[in-house]
Amino acid sequence: MKLIKATRREFSFLMDREEKLSLFKLLEMYPLIPAAYQRLSKSDDRLENQQLLEEALSEQRRENKKKIAALFTSGSAFREQEEGCIFTLRASRVDWLLQVLNDVNVGSWLILGSPEQPRKMATPLTPKTAPFFWASNLSGHFQFALIQAMSGEADGVKE
């Protein structure tokens, strides 16, 4: 995924077809983190506040799933070209996509047993674990491209 155009309002990335398919597969896996994974506090477990947090996170997941469905059906977000596909993302949506991708990244890592070295194949690769190892690694690839775009660090791109 290569940033080819950046304005204040949106970013355009060139992706090959495999990358587009991979991104779609990752988004289809969302959400992976269990609802009760996040704790408000380690020392002060007030049930009411914890419940509020879980409700807020659940609501956020519902909204994210709607946005993912909208992205899949959007005619303007992905434009097929000869050399691949142009993915256009509004700048205001970058944080949202990073959140979704990192849920898949962290959720996959949890499913793999929270290995100390997530990028190494500590867990035996089986048909059951392989998709999560793939997802954890690949989501990092897309996250890196998005962060570079937001930081203005991608090479040779003019506003």
Binding site: K42, S43, D103, V106, P118
Partner: protein
Amino acid sequence: MAETVTPEVLPDVKPVDKTEERSRIEPGYLVVCWNDPVNSIEFVIYVFQRVFGWSKAKATRHTLQVHEQGKSVLTRASLEQAEHYVHQLQKFSLHATMERD
């Protein structure tokens, strides 16, 4: 004839729990980010910048502290502010909690 005096009924007033009230506004909570091996350093720096509006240098300092020391206290805040920050960090799936100071 003596006037009938209607007893005055005062509305129930729930006593204000001053401790609870104070904890909502006083910066008595620490927002802590804990280390995990799955989030990249670049990602954590980015999230700290977005959530707290920090410079890259400050976000990097805290990220390296998380990485090297296992945790970093990101800010001291009131109950409501701390809840807000923790929620924002958890939206990015970072391991963040709030602890009483």
